[in-house]
Amino acid sequence: MEFTLLWAALTAVALGWLALRLTPGRSAGDADRLMGAAAAGLLAGRLGAMILAGVNPITHPLDIIIVRAGVDTRVAAAAALVTLLLSTRDAIIIDRLAPVALAALAGWHGGCVWRGTCLGTASNLPWAMAQPGSAVTRHPVEIYAAIGLAIGAWVVSRLSASPWLKTGAALAIAGGVRLLTQPMRPSLSGGPVGWYLAALVIGLTLAGWSQLHGHPTPDSRLDEDGAPARLDDPAGDGQPQP
């Protein structure tokens, strides 16, 4: 079990790394920021899961390191976002990392293949799959989510450079994909639909605000290769401004 969880995590890291490699203008600190945010999210999510399960982290400190015992994804996502915002307030950097985070999330969902946890509610669609030994075919719901997030990562990476637009769009896509796929996930409680809805609304609001107040365009500070433009030559034509 632990090994399948590890493989899913490695798939997320691999896709995130690949997306970062394909990102123009990346800096040496980007991977550190992402990993720092992911680590903070993991810790906070584990603490959140313990507290929500009625387990006191102070009286059961060793429980914290047993990640396989559960991580609350809502707390983890919020903590990762806050950590990222604390690590930099620069919209350029955060926008640059937004599609990378979506790609990593797609990898995590796609990691269901290693864990054997891709299936959802029953379905008769041609591509529905069955558990070993079962005649009941089901939606491969986590594959749907992985594909949706991967497409979302590509779309976000192609958006204009209006500040916070990519971040808002990525947040909306992450919430929207989870929201759309949730009805196909078996659940006892219905799932954290409110959180997904909140992510969708906040993301759309941020993206809308960005479009209304979309100046200056931060990526104009980057040249075609993604390197920072010279302050005395913002046009990059070799002719310093007077």
């Binding site: 079990m1 399960a53 396989r68 959802g120 079962s134 009941v136 006892l188």
Partner: protein
């Protein structure tokens, strides 16, 4: 395997009262006793193997309790406490207010017979005694709901 399917069917039919009060003795596992107390069977059953010292068990027990509240009219839930002591186990059950029957199996007889190792392990058993799925390690809500749905579909 069929023999153990029968054992689990017998377990499913037992009518022991839930244990949960600190200091209360958890009924020991005794196949003959189960056979005697057998009152009904033929329903799907979830058998959760746990221990009070097991860290992941603390995370999944509230989920199993919630699942029991939702599905207790259609699926039986049973806990098997292994390699434990009575006092700690009773305190664990009281802490999580576990409503379904639990049995004390200090030698982990059932788990060993089923080929399982470690805790937690959750067995999903169809009404005909077939083991539909064996989940090794902590189970999350989605997987638990999926296997419960699988049990209900199979009947």
């Amino acid at each position: 395997m069929k023999r153990w399917g029968l054992v689990l069917l017998l377990l499913a039919g037992c009518s022991a009262a839930p244990a949960g009060t600190p200091g209360e003795q958890i009924p020991p596992f005794d196949l003959a006793g189960f056979q005697d107390s057998l009152t009904s069977y033929g329903r799907p059953t979830v058998v959760n193997v746990w221990a009070s010292w097991c860290i992941p068990c603390r995370s999944e027990t509230p989920l199993l309790v919630e699942a029991h509240h939702v599905f207790s009219d259609r699926i039986d839930f049973i806990g098997i406490d292994v390699q434990d002591d009575q006092k700690s186990a009773a305190a664990f059950l009281a802490e999580f207010d576990v409503p379904y029957p639990n049995f004390f199996d200090p030698e982990a007889t059932i788990r060993t017979a089923l080929g399982g190792r470690g805790v937690p392990i959750t067995y999903f058993i169809a009404a005909d005694g077939t083991i539909v799925d064996t989940h090794i390690g902590v189970i999350d809500e989605q997987q638990l709901a999926l296997q419960l749905d699988e049990l209900l579909v199979r009947g």
